[in-house]
């Protein structure tokens, strides 16, 4: 490699034009750039890069050293040499930047690891699900909320008064039989379920109508509530019977509430739930706490597994004046209606479920079907 001192200062002075006379520094710079171009792309890590960078442009770097030679050059050579060095510096920076970019990309790539197969399933817990009875209950509640019904609540352990007496179900009524109703022992004590009289027995409520009584005893009309909840019947368990099941009962008390209002509400409920083509009909029936009383049939042939024209779906009626008298409402001023829908029965119809026991077995293959 030609040394920096091969040419005399005079020559340098006489041939100042760039490109015409090669300065010794030019070759040195070319060599330096060639070395950098070969070395930098091969660097494997950031420390190597930093070391290499220091070798070129650090305080003791080769380029730095060449730059330092500038001071020793004749004055007329300085502009040319300065230009050469700047060019070299720029080119070197391109190599350094490229190397750094390459290393940074390699580092990121190293942090990522190999590409992931997105078709693999997530090992995380599957999404949670609401029970079909909850879904049906919530749907009914939201339908009824639009008609102004709010949700009331009451205890599942009840007393004979709230479950029977107040609902015009006299002491010798078959519904009160120990054959049909679960009772608690005479000495059972419940801290937060008050008895109306000391000698009445505790029982598991057979309907949520007891909530209607509690609500009416709490305050004057107007009242518009639904009471969803768990109820109990002493019944053989089979495909359509269970020791506990769920109801949603509604009560509306106001001035001038009529049979026609009741029919209008049930028409609205079932049209909302099952579509406008759903037909609802009332059949006279008997319940002790309503007069007149009806059973409600649905015609909804589009539902799965419904193979009858009319399917019984709920019971309802106009609140019996005796019930009003019992809670201290003036039956000449107030009238009202009540209805009760079995949630299991409704859910079975809506989803085409044919065995009530599935609701209580909680097989995940069942539970996950309804979300």
């Amino acid at each position: 490699m030609p040394g920096a001192n091969d040419e005399s200062p005079r020559t340098r002075k006489r041939f100042p034009a760039p490109g015409i006379h090669r300065l010794p520094m030019q070759d040195q710079l070319s060599a330096l750039l060639a070395k950098a171009a070969a070395e930098l792309p091969a660097l494997a890590s950031r420390p190597e890069f930093e070391a290499a960078k220091a070798r070129y442009v650090g305080p003791h770097g080769e380029l730095t050293a060449l730059m330092k030679q500038m001071g020793t050059l004749p004055k007329e050579q300085k502009p040319v040499a300065g230009k050469l060095i700047n060019e070299a510096k720029t080119q070197l920076q391109v190599h350094l930047d490229a190397a750094l970019l390459r290393l940074a990309a390699a580092e990121l790539a190293a942090r990522l690891g190999p590409a992931v197969d997105a078709t693999l399933p997530s090992p995380d817990a599957t999404p949670g699900t609401r029970h079909p009875l909850t879904l049906v209950r919530d749907e009914l509640a939201s339908i009824l909320r639009k008609a102004g019904f709010i949700i009331a609540d009451g205890p599942e352990v009840e007393t004979e008064y709230y479950c029977f007496d107040a609902l015009n179900t006299p002491a010798d009524h078959p519904a009160r039989d120990a054959q049909d109703t679960f009772y608690l022992p005479a000495d059972a004590r419940f801290g937060n379920v008050a008895k109306k009289s000391p000698d009445e027995k505790y029982l598991l409520r057979t309907h949520t109508s007891s909530v209607q009584i509690r609500t009416m005893l709490k305050g004057p009309p107007p009242i518009r509530i639904i009471a969803p909840g768990r109820v109990y019947r002493r019944d053989t368990v089979d495909a359509t019977h269970s020791a506990n099941f769920h109801q949603i009962e509604g009560l509306y008390v106001d001035k001038g509430v009529t049979v026609r209002d009741l029919k209008a509400l049930l028409d609205y409920i079932f049209a909302s739930l099952l579509g406008k083509d759903t037909k609802v009909r009332f059949r006279p029936h008997y319940f002790g706490y309503t007069e007149p009383s009806f059973e409600v049939d649905l015609s909804a042939r589009h539902l799965p597994k419904v193979n009858k024209e009319w399917v019984e779906i709920c019971g309802c009626g106009m609140v019996d004046p005796l019930v009003f008298e019992g809670v201290g409402y003036d039956a000449d001023v107030w009238s009202g209606y009540a209805f009760g829908i079995g949630l299991e029965r409704l859910a079975m119809m809506l989803y085409g479920i044919d065995d009530i026991r599935y609701f209580y077995q909680n097989d995940l293959r069942f539970l996950r079907q309804f979300s």
Partner: protein, 832 residues
């Protein structure tokens, strides 16, 4: 209740109405039709009575015969091949001629059978659709005329409706009652049964050796008792019409006396009992309460010891009938009975019901008495019964009908206006339609008073069999029934806003459910009633001593008085056991891991009482055999802790601020050392537990793997205390100063306690100069470098001032003060 159409036809003309039309009428009258059954032969064209003239063996078949059959005017003599064996030459049988179509769409055509032509078919009862499984030809034993269409020779068909009679309408437990309803519906005449007997027909002289007097010792339970003596009767089979009617409605004909009794019961809803008069001891029937230890062998051949007080009908020696329920075997009517005592009585419903329940013995009679028998129709039923007995069994009435009670005449009136009825209905019916409807139900208008603005005020006399009609509202139902409850006009829903709120528990359940569903839990619904063994496994032992009777089982407070199933005998005290059952079921069906939860009521003992609590619980099950291509860290107590905290939050409770106690020893069901509890019902009104479920318990339940669970339970009345609205607190935008401090304590010291002490000292050291923003554990260490039985807890402390950047000096001064203070009593040392 089975109702025969033919029988109804006696009282109301239903001719021309299809079974469906009648069923629809019954349905809208308020009685559910649970079934319709057609009996008897269908209409059979081209089927006639034929007489077998000859019967020869078929030349080409061993089992067939070739017969000449005379069909008289219907077709002359025909050759018919027949495979049946049960007939003889001369028998008259049904013959289907070509063109006949038998049930099952079986068309009869001329045919050749093994080379022998056959011009029809002789028929069995089954082929005619008369009965299932009858083999052999139907031999017409009463020899109807040859050539007669077979329908004219067979007993008429019937349609039997199976009705559900609601408890308010006992009058419709008899055909007459149903006929009355149908007559009103179809606007037809109701024809009452013709009763011919009048007391003057009786032989005035009673038989001296038979019943002479009645005595009722319990008039409250037996308001009316009547008895008639019939002599010279001949017990035998009932006539066909009577047998057919009883058979149609599912009763087996016995003999004319018993059948007539049943017939009257099914006609008037009035039970009838017949004694063999000569088997009654003495000459007095006594209606009285049974004395201790009295026995009777009832008609079902069971000897029963009667509880004292049971109302019985007794002769001089013994009870002969359990009043209103069932007669005694040895005083009943038998084939050689010639003299009868006919009992037609009324018993108090509650008395019959109580006895029936106590004895576990029910009958058609007790069913009717329990629901209500009209005492004012009793005399008519007695006379109708005598009529029928005299007609079917002969004999005569000896002496007047004996009677005790029945002194209270029936009188009830209801006054109602059309305006009232329209107001309750919500639509308008013409006044005359209303009045006509009520009158068709035999409510007689006894008075009509004008009113200024509400139309005529009608006063109706209520018939004695309609005890259910008592108030004007009851007549609204009658009007609507006869108008048709399927004709209620449509209307918009009118719902003036009431501006009320849901019960607070609704929000709690919804928030808890949202939290858990969001964490991948599936909602379950399990039974409230649990087995005793399971209940015992989850009751804290402390509960035992608190109950009044220390000897009773710890589960006693949770037990039902009358469980139905052994494994559903106790109220649940936790939701976790039900969820474990669900886990077990899923594991057995091949789903090992699961996250399940439930919201529902549980019952918690406190203060010698049970408290009904709103609760929510979850379980997380992880098993060794869970396979996944990528393993996630296992759930642990802290997973359960965080979730339980979110459940408490749903009730507005900050569980993080509550003291925790280890669960396990005091809370069975939980794994000691791996579970914790907070709260209690006594003072706070809520409880929470979380952690690992007892491994031995899981094993005994057959649940594989580890189950972490959490429960939060709260008294419903604690929910819904209005939450104060959050107020914004100013926060500093200046940088914080951080210091780490490792403290060495006994390994058993809870980190929470140390944190509390540290926070207390730190707050004291900071004073009001600036603020301690937080103290939190970031490392727990035990082992090398620490003494045996010690652990190191590393805390991060964050300090900040609202108004300036803290200097190192002031923070260091405070930090030194903290270190000095915390190590002062020697239980906590600062780790170098």
């Amino acid at each position: 209740m089975k109702i025969s159409r033919n029988w109804l036809q006696t009282y109301v003309n239903l001719a021309g109405l299809s079974a469906e039309e009648i069923a629809r009428a019954i349905t809208f009258l308020g009685f559910e039709v649970e079934g319709i059954r057609e009996t008897g032969a269908p209409a059979l064209a081209q089927v006639f009575v034929g007489q077998v003239l000859t019967r020869d063996k078929h030349p080409n078949a061993d089992k067939l015969s070739v017969c000449l059959v005379d069909l008289g005017p219907a077709g002359g003599v025909k050759t018919i091949v027949c495979g049946a064996q049960n007939y003889q030459v001369g028998d008259r049988v049904p013959v289907a001629l070509p063109g006949a179509v038998l049930p099952g769409n079986f068309e009869i055509k001329p045919s050749k059978i093994r080379g022998q032509s056959s011009d029809g078919m002789m028929c069995s009862a089954q082929e005619l659709g008369l009965s299932e499984g009858a083999t052999g030809l139907l031999i017409l034993t009463d020899r109807p005329e040859v050539g007669l269409p077979v329908n004219d020779a067979l007993p008429p068909g019937d349609t039997v409706f199976d009705l559900e009679i609601t408890p308010n309408r006992p009058d419709c437990l008899g055909h007459l009652g149903v006929a009355r309803e149908l007559a009103a519906w179809f606007k037809k005449e109701l024809t009452y049964p013709a009763v011919h007997y009048v007391p003057e027909h009786a032989d005035p002289a009673p038989r001296p050796d038979l019943l002479r007097t009645l005595r009722v010792d319990a008039p409250a339970d037996c308001p009316l008792y009547t008895a008639t003596v019939l002599t010279g009767v001949k017990v035998g089979p009932s006539p066909d019409w009577l047998r057919q009617r009883l058979t149609a409605v599912g009763l087996r004909p016995i003999n004319n006396v018993v059948d007539v009794g049943n017939y009257i019961m099914l006609e008037y809803n009035q039970p009838v009992h017949a004694f063999d008069a000569r088997r009654l001891g003495g000459q007095t029937i006594i209606v009285r309460p049974a004395t201790e230890g009295e026995k009777i062998t009832t008609l079902d051949k069971v000897e029963r010891t009667l509880p004292a007080g049971t109302l019985v009908i007794a002769d001089a020696n013994r009870p002969v009938v359990i009043a209103g329920i069932m007669g005694g075997l040895d005083s009943g009517v038998s084939a050689d009975t010639t003299d009868l005592v006919l009992e037609v009585a009324n018993f108090r419903r509650q008395s019959v019901r109580a006895t029936s329940k106590r004895l576990g013995l029910a009958s058609d009679s007790s069913y009717r008495y329990e629901r209500g028998v009209d005492p004012h129709s009793l005399e008519e039923a007695m006379h109708g019964c005598i009529d029928l007995l005299l007609a079917t069994a002969g004999g005569k009435v000896a002496g007047p009908t004996l009677k005790v009670g029945g002194d209270v005449p029936w009188q009830r009136e209801i006054t109602v206006t059309p305006a009232f009825i329209n107001e309750r209905l919500g639509f308008t019916l013409p006044a005359d339609e209303m009045q006509a409807a009520l009158e068709r139900l035999e409510l007689e208008t006894v008075r009509t008073d004008p009113t200024p603005d509400r139309g005529p005020a009608w006063t109706f006399a209520i018939p004695s069999w309609r005890d259910d009609l008592d108030r004007p509202i009851d007549l609204v139902e009658e009007v609507l029934r006869l108008h048709g409850s399927d004709r209620i006009p449509a209307a918009p829903v009118v719902a003036p806003a009431l501006l009320a709120d849901d019960a607070p528990i609704v929000g709690f359940n919804r928030r808890a459910t949202d939290a858990l569903v969001g964490q991948g839990f599936s909602e379950c619904i399990t039974y409230t009633l649990r087995p005793e063994k399971e209940t015992a496994a989850w009751i804290p032992p402390a509960a035992e001593s608190k109950f009044q009777n220390p000897n009773s089982k710890i589960t006693a407070a949770f037990a039902l008085a009358n469980p139905f199933l052994e494994d559903q005998s106790h109220l649940r005290t936790s939701l976790v056991p039900g969820l474990l059952t669900a886990l077990q079921l899923n594991q057995a069906r091949g789903t090992a891991a699961a996250r399940l939860f439930e919201t529902g009521r549980i019952f918690v003992e406190r203060d010698s009482q049970l408290w009904e609590c709103a609760a929510v619980a979850f379980v997380i099950c992880e098993t060794e055999s869970d396979r996944a291509w990528l393993k996630r860290p296992a759930a642990d107590l802290f997973t359960a802790k965080r979730l339980t905290e979110s459940l408490a939050t749903a009730a507005g409770i900050d569980l993080g601020r509550q003291p925790l106690a280890p669960a396990g020893a005091t809370a069975p069901g939980w794994q000691a050392g791996h579970a914790a509890a907070a709260g209690e019902l006594q003072h706070r009104g809520w409880t929470a537990q979380f952690g690992l479920v007892d491994l031995a318990l899981l094993q005994s339940l057959g649940v594989a793997g580890r189950v972490h669970a959490g429960v939060f339970a709260i008294l419903p009345e604690m929910l819904g205390a209005a939450q104060a609205r959050h107020r914004y607190t100013d926060f500093s935008l200046l940088p914080a100063a951080l210091r780490d401090l490792a403290l060495v304590v006994d390994a058993a010291t809870p980190a929470g306690d140390v944190q509390k002490i540290l926070a207390k000292h730190a707050r004291a050291a900071v004073g009001s100069a600036f603020a301690l923003e937080s103290v939190s554990v970031f490392d727990v260490y035990a082992g090398k470098g620490l003494p045996e039985g010690k652990k190191s807890l590393a805390f991060s402390l964050i300090f900040r001032a609202p108004d300036r950047t803290l200097t190192d000096d002031e923070v260091n001064a405070v930090f030194t003060k903290i270190q000095t203070a915390i190590s002062a009593d020697g239980t906590i040392t600062v780790r170098a």
